[in-house]
Amino acid sequence: MKKIMDILEKFQVPVYRQGSITEDEEYPDTFFTFWEFGDETKYYDNVPVSREHIFWIYIYSKEPERVPGIEKETEEMFLKHDISILEAWKDAKSDEETHMGRRITISVREDLQEVGK
């Protein structure tokens, strides 16, 4: 998670957990949200060796002209930091008419132990 947060924070826009903005809070002009929705553990000889954490990362913005650039940069940074892109950016529903929404699915690998040690 820290790896993802470090990347998103480079864009200097707020980052929230999906669902954490309250009814009386206004949306920032542009912001990210995230949600870890799954994980998959890999085993070798019945020993867990790694775990893939799967995240949805969302971007919401009332500045649609900014979004394609942010999408491209986040993809490049994810790949540079060994974060796999499972599904490319696609439209996501926004519950404010003023903001467009987009969502990407990524996975981050966590090594649990070295095989054979």
Partner: protein, 135 residues
């Protein structure tokens, strides 16, 4: 339709055996898919219960199994008719900045356990038919 699709693809060996036993593969394939629909739809309705407000999204759940054939593969759609008020199901599964995603609902459609469950339901029906034909 926010939906999952159960198909008969991948069951060729079982369907061929049914054919050799002179069973009606079309009828049996459709029976397997109807069983999937009947077992999965109540689970979706149960997941929706906690989201009940107007009932519009729940009413958009496909009540009757509609079998579609494409070449030799049959499929059934299970889930929400988007045009009939089911759009909110997409909100619920993926969430919004003000609403957490409903992981359980998402997994009913896209989770590995759901896919496994569907395959098992289909297999059980096909094996049952094979046993009946072998008697």
């Amino acid at each position: 339709m926010a939906r999952l699709k159960a198909e008969t693809e991948g069951f060729d060996a079982l369907l061929n055996k049914i054919h050799r036993l002179e069973g009606d593969t079309k009828v049996i394939a459709e029976k397997a898919l109807i069983e999937v629909h009947e077992q999965i739809t109540p689970r979706i309705k149960e997941d929706m219960a906690k989201h009940y407000l107007t009932g519009a999204t729940e009413r958009s759940i496909a009540q009757e199994p509609e079998i579609e054939w494409s070449a030799q593969t049959a499929s059934v759609k299970v889930g929400f008719h988007i045009r009939d008020g089911g759009l909110a199901s997409v909100f619920l599964m993926y969430g919004t900045p003000r609403m957490e995603p409903d992981r359980k609902l998402y997994n009913e459609f896209y989770g590995a356990a759901a896919k496994k469950r569907i395959r098992e339901i289909e297999e059980n029906v096909l094996y049952e038919e094979i046993r009946r034909l072998e008697l």
